[in-house]
């Protein structure tokens, strides 16, 4: 690594400890990203092809004409809005707010259960929710017991089922972020508002939410990025099906690249996902900087 004009004063050896990380990051992260940007513009296939050739923006124009791709974009949007923006975020905030008032035992028990769902390996979480939503599963058993109509959730509403699964699995993160944020609000402020006669909802809306808006921003960013790259959970529960009714972009990318052997096309989709992720990432960094 170059140390620049100050090289004489700041010897190169000082930067030496960075070397292992730099090598790993360049070879295994920056390299693949650059390679991704390259093969997205080729017609590289998995098998039976000696060379690939440069096809320019063909993959991208093909994608935007491909109904299956547009379907995946739409489902990714639904999945992200339902499970991350609405589900994890709101439920996490609600849990954190309730925990401030609840008794210690209830707080501990709820926290433990929600966090347990978060710590479990992705695939295990997938199986548990698969069992929950299956036709013979727990949800229908409960609905039956309540004399409510049952249905085959993974078939009739697959995207809703995987969204719920993602809420189940990811809410703990928001809960922890918001618990920390709410804990930092000085007690005097809420007490003063209470003296002035502001009720619970008004205090939440006019005082608490504005005070934790930065945490809300970073939490929304991180949840969204996390949700954009969910693969294992959906793969285990529905494989993207039935048909392609729960096929979000990561699953679509996988199908194009491997089941249909079109690596170039699959990578073009990956690049789009990466670009969207980068944009969110940049916004997140802006939020962090304004907080510092």
């Amino acid at each position: 690594m170059k140390v620049g004009r100050g090289g004489a004063r700041r010897p190169l050896t000082r930067a030496l400890p960075l070397a292992p990380s730099l090598v790993l990051l360049l070879l295994f992260l920056a390299g693949p990203i650059a390679y991704c940007a390259y093969i997205a513009f080729t017609d590289l296939q998995l098998t039976g092809q000696a060379h690939s050739s440069f096809v320019g923006f063909d993959n991208f124009t093909a994608a935007f004409k491909d109904d299956a791709f547009l379907n995946a974009v739409w489902l990714t949007l639904v999945f992200t809005v339902l499970s991350s923006l609405i589900g994890q975020n709101t439920l996490g905030l609600a849990l954190a707010a309730l925990m401030q008032r609840a008794s210690k035992t209830v707080r501990t028990v709820t926290g433990a259960v929600v966090i347990c769902a978060w710590v479990l390996p992705e695939v295990v979480a997938g199986f548990l929710l698969y069992a929950f939503f299956r036709r013979e599963g727990t949800l229908n058993a409960i609905l039956d017991w309540l004399h409510l109509p049952t249905q085959n959730w993974l078939f009739t509403l697959p995207i809703l089922a995987v969204s719920f699964a993602n809420v189940w699995r990811g809410t703990a993160f928001s809960m922890l972020v918001y618990s920390a944020a709410l804990g930092e609000i000085p007690k005097e402020i809420t007490e003063a508002a209470e003296m002035d006669g502001a009720g619970g909802w008004r205090r939440m809306w006019h005082i608490t939410l504005p005070m934790i808006r930065r945490s809300i921003g970073t939490n929304l960013m991180l949840n969204t990025l996390q949700t954009l790259s969910v693969f294992g959970l959906i793969w285990v529960m529905t494989r993207g099906g039935p048909g392609n009714r729960s096929q979000t972009l990561p699953l679509f990318m996988y199908e194009q690249a491997f089941q249909k052997s079109m690596i170039g096309y699959g990578t073009a989709v990956a690049l789009l996902l990466l670009v969207v992720g980068s944009l969110f990432s940049l916004v997140y960094m802006r939020l962090l900087r304004s907080e510092a």
Binding site: P17, S21, R101, V113, I115, A131, L288
Partner: protein, 276 residues
């Protein structure tokens, strides 16, 4: 002491939390009860008689020991590599001023947030070209690299918390930077290192997509991928065994989480993520 209103509020909050907890606990109850049930199906139900047969059945080299050993090898190796590289990298970033620090840290923070899922197809294509596909070492390297940005970021923040004066004393005694890093800084940031270690390990242990893409031979598969075998190849699914295996596979990360969370409070890994 507490007014009737506070008590009412507390009861309402308790009730609300318990309803959510009940909804969250159902899938977890299924895995625990089914693992102990000889006739497990997809519903939460009390077993007729508690049995450990399911555990007996899965505790074989094929089903449990080899995949878990593979997981340990993969995640242990990658965690070691991550933590060692991150500790080294954090040192100059934390101790010396350079105009490269901020751009580097910004890049690292940016990379922390990239959806790694998106690059798995090109990584696969690249690994085929350089003959790293289906190798443990290739997967370990990629795992380590994918976890490194966050690890460097956390490690640097923890290292900033170690006062520089202690090191300066060692320098006057003639210690090199490397010696002071190993002998003084790292021991003082033990908690930080354990957080980075546990966090990296837990993330990799649960990761499905990376080994699913980069490893091909069944003998090398870690538990996160081999668990799929309960569905595909064996015909009918024995849910009790699947549940038992899920518990065995999940226990290490839950224990690690509890251990670290106890010492550093819940959400231990969030410090670096939501605070700049």
């Amino acid at each position: 002491m507490s007014s009737p209103r506070t008590v009412r509020h507390r009861l309402a909050a308790d009730a609300g939390l318990l309803i959510v907890a009940a909804a969250f606990v159902l899938p977890l109850a299924w895995v625990v009860l089914s693992a102990l049930d000889a006739h497990a199906n997809l519903q939460v139900k009390i077993p007729d008689g508690v049995t450990l047969d399911n555990f007996d059945a899965v505790l074989t080299p094929d089903i449990t020991f080899t995949p878990l050993l593979n997981s340990l090898l993969l995640c242990g190796g990658a965690t070691l590599l991550t933590v060692a590289s991150a500790a080294l990298a954090a040192y100059p970033l934390s101790r010396y001023r350079s105009r490269f620090n901020n751009p580097f840290l910004a890049t690292v923070l940016f990379a922390t947030c990239l959806p790694i899922t998106a690059i798995m197809v090109p990584v696969y294509a690249l690994f085929v070209q350089v003959d790293l596909i289906d190798t443990m070492q290739g997967t370990i390297f990629f795992f380590a690299a994918s976890q490194l940005p966050f690890a460097i970021w956390l490690m640097k923040n923890f290292m900033d918390g170690v006062p520089k004066e202690l090191e300066e004393a060692a320098w006057t005694d003639g210690a090199s930077s490397f010696q002071s890093l190993i002998r003084i800084v790292l021991p003082l940031m033990g908690p930080g290192i354990s957080v980075v270690t546990v966090f990296s390990f837990v993330m990799m242990w649960g990761n499905f997509f990376v080994p699913f893409m980069l490893l091909l031979t069944p003998e090398q598969m870690p538990a996160s991928v081999s668990i799929n075998d309960f569905f595909g190849n064996r015909g009918t699914v024995v849910y009790g065994q699947l549940a038992a295996f899920s518990i065995i596979y999940s226990t290490p990360v839950i224990l690690l989480y509890v251990l670290v969370a106890r010492r550093f409070g819940g959400g231990f890994a969030l410090g670096g993520a939501v605070k700049g």
